[in-house]
Amino acid sequence: MAVDLDAALMEILACPCPAHAQLRSGTAADPDADALTCTACGRSFPVTDGIPVLLLHEALPGTGPDADSGGGGG
């Protein structure tokens, strides 16, 4: 199921990474995934029961700047 968040909230939501860039629904691999992905650092964050978990160390494994080394957090 794709993430369906309030439009006004999506406008203010940003990645917790230093760039604080916009988040998009889904992941790079699956646009319909229950996740939000940063347009700058590439980290994907899980959305659990409709609640985005926007913690750097809980970014989905294999996403973000450390993706090549297999790490996901910051």
């Binding site: 203010i12 939501l13 604080h20 916009q22 988040l23 659990t48 029961d49 609640i51 160390h57």
Partner: protein, 275 residues
């Protein structure tokens, strides 16, 4: 450095939502149609409860349609009160997953989901664009955050110029040891208490000069004695903070009250304005 997870672990218990719903049903309340005021005995997790919330927020010049961020929103009591009393749009952030989950559930059951939302996030890396909020409040949170310079820099970043920031934290006002556990920490390893003048310095450096400050030690001592007298007289209420403050709620309260009475700690309010 203490991780967010260490702090979240202190506050997690795994069955909080169920305990609160059970208590509500014991009281004959329909859990699908909650009156947020019925939750005030359990969802205002700071000294003086709802009264302390009201008195802090009254200094924030709130009016409908403002965007408010509640940092360390816990079970969401302050956030729901903000929406209901002042008609503002509220976003709450907390590092504890269980609190975010319970806060979201209680808000839905109170019919306030359109105005109040919660995110699991760290106060020192907030997941919002610059200038996203007109007001920020933070009640009994700074004691768990070691890097207050980073905290205040983030709060300044997400506030608009002229936005207000209301703090209600326990601050160190005198020398002396503190006995643990206390409600916010099991030991000194996760307790980061700071003097009011250090708060003011760090806030000013972050572009958040303090306009007013109020020592609430007397109010806090009175409120804690009242809670203890009520429990001694009537026993534990069905819906009370002992559900949240596990284990050893009585010992945590006693240690906190002792630190207030010896003038080691004082609940303190500060109102800062973003430059």
């Amino acid at each position: 450095m203490v991780s967010d997870q260490t702090i979240a672990d202190h506050y997690s218990q795994g069955e909080l939502g169920r305990k609160i719903l059970n208590a509500l049903m014991t009281l004959g309340v329909d859990p699908e149609h909650l009156d947020p005021d019925q939750l005030a005995t359990v969802d205002e997790f700071h000294i003086g409860g709802r009264q302390a919330t009201v008195e802090l927020l009254d200094q924030l010049d709130l009016h409908p349609a403002l965007r408010v961020l509640d940092v360390g929103s816990g079970l969401g009591g302050t956030a729901r009160y903000l929406a209901r009393r002042h008609g503002v749009e509220v976003t709450g952030v907390d590092v504890t997953a269980e609190y975010v989950e319970v806060a979201t559930s209680l808000t839905r059951r109170s019919g306030l989901s359109k105005l109040v939302q919660f995110r699991q996030a760290s106060a020192t890396t907030l997941p919002f664009s610059d200038g996203s909020f007109d007001r920020v409040c933070m009640l009994h949170v700074g004691m768990n955050i070691s890097d207050k310079a980073a905290l205040f820099a983030e709060i300044r970043r997400v506030l608009v110029v002229g936005g207000r920031f209301g703090i209600y934290d326990l601050m160190r006002v005198g020398p002396g040891e503190i006995s643990y556990p206390v409600p916010w920490a099991g030991s000194s390893a996760t307790s980061f208490l700071m003097e009011p003048h250090r708060y003011r310095e760090l806030l000013t450096q972050a572009g958040l000069p303090v306009q007013t400050e109020r020592d609430r030690r007397g109010f806090g001592i009175g409120a804690l004695h009242e809670v203890r007298a009520r429990v001694a007289r009537d026993g534990l209420p069905a819906l009370g903070l002992h559900l949240v403050m596990v284990p050893e709620p009585a010992l945590k309260i006693a240690n906190m009250l002792d630190s207030l009475e010896r003038a080691v700690l004082a609940p303190t309010e500060m109102i800062a304005i973003a430059q």
